[in-house]
C-alpha cells in the first residue's frame, strides 16, 4: 500500500430528521494514529456525526468505511467488536463497584473467561494488574479501591477513559470528555488525551467545544457548521480560515 489508508472514512454522510438535515454530505477521513478534533457551534451536528460513526444512528445517505471495509450496515455492538470505542457525554460507569473493578470488568470482557462460574475471579491476577496499570495511565491509581460513585465528576470521566482503554479499541471516539468538568480538572484530561496520542497506538476523534484547548493537541481540525463540513485542515490553517473565524469564533463564541 502506497499511502496509509484512513482508519475511518465517511463518504457523503447524511442524516435527516424530518425536514432537518443534521449532517449534510460530510466526507471526512481520519489517518491512523492521528488525532482529529471536530468543532463547531452548538447544533452543528458534532454529536450526531459521532452517533453515525459509532452506529447509534443510521445514516439516510452516504457510507462509512473502517479500515477500508464498509461498516455502514453494522450496529453499535458489532462496531465495538471491530475496534471502535466511544465515550459518552454523560458519565456511564458502575457506581456501586470499586474503581479497579470497573476497569477489571472491561478487561474480563475481552479475556473470554466471563462464563466461568466455578473459579474465583481473583484467580486471574493479570487482569487486576492490568487494570491498575490503566488506572495509573489515567492518573487515578490513588483511588483504586474507592467505590466509583464517590469519585468527583472529573475522576469519573478519567475512569470512563480507563474503561474505554481497557476495551483496547483502535479508534477512540471521545465526545466532549471535559463536559461538565470544573476548570481545574480540564488540563489533566487533556494531558491524558495527549499521552494516549503520543503513545502512538491509537487513533482519536475528539468532539470539543473549547477551541483554544485543542489547538495544540490536534493533528487536524474539522469544522462543522449547520451540518456541513466547512473546513478540515491543520490547526494553524483552520485558525486562519476566515469562514471558520466568522462561523465559529464569531458566532459560537458567545455561548461557548
Amino acid at each position: 500500500m502506497a499511502a496509509a489508508e484512513p482508519l475511518i472514512r465517511s463518504q457523503e454522510l447524511t442524516v435527516r430528521f424530518g425536514g432537518n438535515v443534521a449532517v449534510n454530505r460530510v466526507s471526512l477521513a481520519v489517518e491512523p494514529y492521528t488525532l482529529k478534533s471536530i468543532i463547531g457551534p452548538n447544533g452543528a451536528g458534532k454529536t450526531t456525526l459521532f452517533n453515525l460513526l459509532s452506529g447509534q444512528y443510521r445514516p439516510t445517505g452516504g457510507r462509512i468505511f473502517f479500515k477500508g471495509r464498509d461498516i455502514t450496515g453494522l450496529n453499535a455492538a458489532a462496531r465495538t467488536h471491530l475496534g471502535i470505542g466511544r465515550s459518552f457525554q454523560l458519565t456511564n460507569i458502575f457506581p456501586n463497584l470499586t474503581v479497579l473493578e470497573n476497569v477489571r470488568l472491561a478487561l474480563q470482557s475481552r479475556a473470554g473467561i466471563s462464563y466461568i462460574f466455578w473459579r474465583n475471579f481473583r484467580a486471574y491476577p493479570e487482569l487486576e494488574d492490568r487494570a491498575y496499570e490503566l488506572l495509573q495511565r489515567v492518573l487515578l491509581e490513588g483511588r483504586w479501591d474507592a467505590v466509583a460513585s464517590t469519585l468527583t465528576h472529573g475522576e469519573q470521566r478519567k475512569l470512563e477513559i480507563a474503561i474505554l482503554l481497557a476495551l483496547d479499541p483502535e479508534l477512540l471516539l471521545l465526545d466532549e470528555p471535559t463536559a461538565g468538568m470544573s476548570l481545574e480538572e480540564v488540563p489533566a484530561i487533556l494531558e491524558l488525551i495527549r499521552d494516549i496520542k503520543d503513545a502512538g497506538q491509537r487513533t482519536i476523534l475528539l468532539v470539543e467545544h473549547k477551541f483554544d484547548m485543542i489547538m495544540s493537541l490536534s493533528d487536524s481540525i474539522a469544522v462543522l457548521k449547520e451540518g456541513r463540513l466547512i473546513c478540515d485542515d491543520a490547526p494553524e490553517v483552520v485558525s486562519c480560515n476566515p469562514e471558520v473565524l466568522e462561523a465559529y469564533l464569531g458566532g459560537g463564541a458567545k455561548d461557548a
Binding site: 470488568l105 491476577p125 491498575y132
Partner: protein, 369 residues
C-alpha cells in the same frame, strides 16, 4: 511464590496480604466453628427437636442463599423459587411412593430428576418472562407458582393431593434401623440422614459462594449495577441472567430433595405454598440481601423463633396463670414475631449480616485514617 516478586503496586500488596491471611481470616474460622458445632450437635444436645431445627436451618439457609443469588446479586425478583423447592421435594417423594418400596438408587435418581426438572422449568421461565419488564416478571412467576401449587393439590393420582405423601427411606436411612451406640449416642437412620443433609448443604453453599465470586458472578453484579454499561462492555446480559436463574433453581430444587429426605413427608402446604415463598423472602430480608451468609442468620432467626417463641410464651402462661393479660398475649405469639421482624427491618435495613458488614467496613476505614 511472593518472594521472587516483591509487591509493587497496592493491588499486588493487597493480594499478597490476602493470600498470607487466607487461613487466619475471622470469616473462615466462623465457618469452621459453625460446621464443627453442627457436626457435633447430636452429641452436644440430646434433643430431637434441636436436631430437627438444625437440619431445617441448614436446608433453608441454602435455599435462601440460592434465592439471594437471584434477588440480591442479579436483581431478578422471582416469586417462583418455592416452586423449585417443591419440585425437588416431590421428585424424591413421588419416586419412592410410586415405586412401592424404597431402594438405594432412588436417591441419586431423585437428585437427577430434581436437577433436570429445575433446569427445564427455569429455562422456560427465563425465556418467556425474563425479557418482560420487572413487574410483569414478578406477576408471571407468581402465576406459575400458583399453578404448580394447584397442580400438586388437584392431581390426586400423582401427588395424593392435600393429604401429601409420606414415605420411607431405604436401608440404613430408615427410621427403624439402629446400629448400636457410639460415644453414648444411638446411631440410627435419623442420625445418618442428618449427616447427609449437613454434607450436602455445606457443599451446595460452597457452590453458591464460589458462583458469586467467579468471573460470571462478577458480571451478574455489574448487570445489577448498570445493565446498559455491562452491555456496552460487550456482555450478553441475557445469557448471564439465564445462568443465574438456572443455577439458583437447581440449588433450590436440590434443597427440596434434602427437605423431603429429612422430613419424609411432602405435601402442598409444606413445600409448594406461597407461605414458603414468603418465608424465604423474610429470611433473606432479615439476614441481608446480597451477602449470601445472611441467609444462614435469616433462616436460623425465623426457624428458631418459630419453634421456641411459642414455647417461651406458653411457659409464661404456665408459671404465671393469674395474669390474664399475659396469657392473652402469650396466645398471640405470632404477634411478637411480627414485632421482632419489624424491629430488625427498622434497625438493620440491610439485614443483620449486611449491617454488620457495613459497621465492620466503617471501623476498618476509621483505623486506616
Amino acid at each position: 511464590m511472593a518472594d521472587q516478586h516483591p509487591p509493587q503496586t497496592p493491588v499486588q500488596a493487597q493480594r499478597a496480604q490476602e493470600a498470607a491471611g487466607r487461613y487466619t481470616r475471622a470469616g473462615l474460622w466462623l465457618q469452621v466453628i459453625l460446621l464443627v458445632l453442627l457436626a457435633l450437635e447430636p452429641w452436644l444436645v440430646s434433643s430431637f427437636r434441636v436436631m430437627d431445627v438444625a437440619a431445617k436451618v441448614m436446608i433453608f439457609a441454602v435455599l435462601v442463599a440460592s434465592y439471594d443469588l437471584l434477588l440480591g446479586y442479579t436483581g431478578i425478583f422471582s416469586l417462583a423459587h418455592a416452586m423449585f423447592f417443591g419440585l425437588g421435594a416431590y421428585s424424591l417423594a413421588l419416586i419412592i411412593h410410586h415405586a412401592g418400596a424404597p431402594l438405594w438408587y432412588h436417591l441419586p435418581l431423585a437428585a437427577l430428576l430434581a436437577t433436570g426438572l429445575a433446569v427445564l422449568v427455569s429455562l422456560v421461565v427465563a425465556f418467556f418472562s425474563l425479557r418482560l419488564k420487572a413487574l410483569f416478571f414478578v406477576v408471571m412467576t407468581l402465576a406459575l407458582a400458583q399453578f404448580a401449587d394447584i397442580l400438586s393439590i388437584q392431581w390426586h393420582s400423582l401427588t395424593r393431593g392435600e393429604d401429601g405423601v409420606s414415605f420411607k427411606l431405604p436401608g440404613l436411612l430408615d427410621v427403624g434401623w439402629s446400629g448400636g451406640k457410639l460415644w453414648g449416642l444411638t446411631v440410627n437412620g435419623r442420625l445418618l440422614t442428618y449427616y447427609i443433609v449437613l454434607a450436602a448443604a455445606a457443599l451446595l453453599f460452597v457452590g453458591l459462594v464460589r458462583f458469586v465470586r467467579s468471573p460470571a458472578g462478577r458480571v451478574l453484579k455489574s448487570i445489577r449495577d448498570n445493565e446498559q454499561r455491562a452491555t456496552a462492555l460487550g456482555y450478553k446480559t441475557f445469557n448471564y441472567q439465564i445462568l443465574a436463574n438456572v443455577f439458583g433453581a437447581v440449588v433450590a430444587s436440590l434443597c427440596g430433595v434434602l427437605y423431603a429426605l429429612w422430613v419424609r413427608f411432602v405435601g402442598p402446604e409444606s413445600v409448594m405454598s406461597t407461605a414458603i415463598m414468603l418465608n424465604i423472602l423474610l429470611m433473606l430480608i432479615i439476614g441481608g440481601m446480597g451477602t449470601l451468609y445472611g441467609s444462614i442468620v435469616g433462616a436460623a432467626f425465623i426457624l428458631v423463633a418459630e419453634s421456641w417463641l411459642a414455647d417461651g410464651l406458653r411457659a409464661v402462661k404456665v408459671f404465671l396463670p393469674d395474669l390474664m393479660v399475659l396469657q392473652r398475649l402469650a396466645d398471640r405469639w405470632i404477634l411478637y414475631f411480627g414485632v421482632l421482624f419489624v424491629l430488625v427491618v427498622i434497625f438493620f435495613p440491610k439485614g443483620l449480616v449486611g449491617s454488620a458488614r457495613e459497621i465492620a467496613a466503617r471501623r476498618r476505614a476509621r483505623v486506616r485514617e
